[in-house]
């Protein structure tokens, strides 16, 4: 998250609420290691990434919901190699992602 802290701080100082998605567990092949994170601001801006683009759009919706409700959640994304190839995605494997609204 080191790479997106400054951006999150800017949103915070601008009075925006922010949700953070953190990759916490990976099975099989995935492009990023646990700890990778993606932040979404209340206005819908995005910083960082979790995967090679496989789950970002789904996470965007979860993040917006977390901002609105304040409810944290742990989400599992399972992508079989064949499905990944079919959708032109860069990752196979299973990702677990924790999504939370940041408390300043």
């Amino acid at each position: 998250m080191n790479d997106i802290v400054e951006q999150i701080d800017r949103w915070r100082l601008a009075g925006q609420r922010v949700a953070l998605a953190t990759l916490v567990d990976v099975e099989f092949s995935a492009p990023r290691d646990p700890g990778a994170s993606l932040a979404v601001s209340e206005h819908g801006e995005v910083a960082g990434s979790i995967s090679g683009g496989c789950v970002e759009s789904a996470l965007y919706e979860e993040a917006q919901d977390a901002i609105a409700t304040g409810r944290p959640r742990l989400i599992t994304y399972g992508i079989s190699d064949s499905e990944a190839i079919e959708h032109g995605l860069t990752c196979g494997g299973t990702l677990r992602v924790f999504v939370e609204r940041l408390e300043w």
């Binding site: 080191n2 953190t22 646990p34 944290p72 924790f98 939370e100």
Partner: protein, 267 residues
């Protein structure tokens, strides 16, 4: 708890901090922040806080991030409480010895990879910011004396570009006593053979000598300083991931993650 402000302040000040997040049940999202001499937050039970604090300090010292399970009150064999512990450690150091053309490219790629790069050379005429603009620090000092006084951790990379036996040998003598992750030494096979002979004479044994990456870098036919820096950087990445550094199309191993040790020899 002012979770994010505490964390962003620690990252800005380059103070190591671990963040533990509980991932199960009613306590989903509960936090414990573990700094060098403090602990803030609550994961749901005092025993769990203590157990995670101990685990967090161990992970932090190795700059590691991990998903762990504990019993409800922190019992080490339990599975009820799942806790994600993320380390935020300051940038690892890369020390580049010798201020030559190659050092400029090495400093650039070191910085690109997330290292804090320090270039060390005894000659003030060469060790200048103008010649090596991407270095975070440029130090005019004898390489061996600098290294003997420097803080070297298991994530530090040492790049020896002096390729002159009279500088290299005292420097490598010090380097091999550190826990550095990588010790790359530039020079031809002949230069390296002379160096190894001198190091053996100085009492360095074979196990220590085997830690040296020399001739330095992966075999990609690098010629220019930029190509050589990429070859060295790729070797650092490969060693960190326990990979041999060939072409992925020529292996059947998973693309990401450490190569299983048993399969390493088949690469």
């Amino acid at each position: 708890m002012n979770y994010f402000s505490t964390l962003s302040e620690a990252i800005r000040d380059e103070t190591p901090i671990a963040v533990a997040t509980r991932l199960d049940g009613d306590h989903l999202g509960a936090k414990l922040l573990i700094g060098e001499d403090r602990r803030v937050g609550d994961l749901g039970s005092p025993g769990l806080n203590d157990a995670v604090e101990a685990e967090g300090r161990a992970l932090l010292s190795a700059a590691q991030t991990s998903l762990r399970s504990f019993g409800p009150d922190g019992e080490p064999t339990g599975v009820d409480a799942r806790v994600f512990v993320q380390s935020f450690a300051p940038k690892p150091d890369m020390f580049v010895f010798g201020a030559i053309d190659f050092s400029r490219a090495m400093a650039s790629i070191g910085k690109f990879l997330g290292y804090r790069v320090t270039v060390v050379d005894a000659r003030p005429v060469f060790a200048t910011k103008a010649r090596i603009p991407d270095a975070d620090d440029i130090v005019v000092a004898w390489p061996d004396e600098f290294l003997a006084a420097a803080r070297v951790t298991p994530s530090t990379a040492l790049i020896v570009l002096t390729h002159d036996v009279k500088f290299d040998v005292p420097l490598l003598d010090v380097a091999l006593r550190t826990r550095a992750a990588y010790i790359g030494v530039m020079g031809s096979r002949r230069t390296h053979a002379n160096r190894v002979a001198a190091l053996r004479e100085a009492g360095i044994d074979e196990a220590q000598l085997s830690r040296l990456s020399a001739p330095v870098g992966l075999d990609i036919g690098a010629r220019t300083p930029e190509e050589t820096a990429i070859s060295i950087a790729a070797e650092i990445i490969a060693l960190r991931g326990e990979r041999n550094g060939g072409r992925l199309r020529d292996t059947t191993l998973p693309v990401h993650g450490a190569a299983p040790r048993a399969q390493k020899a088949t690469i």
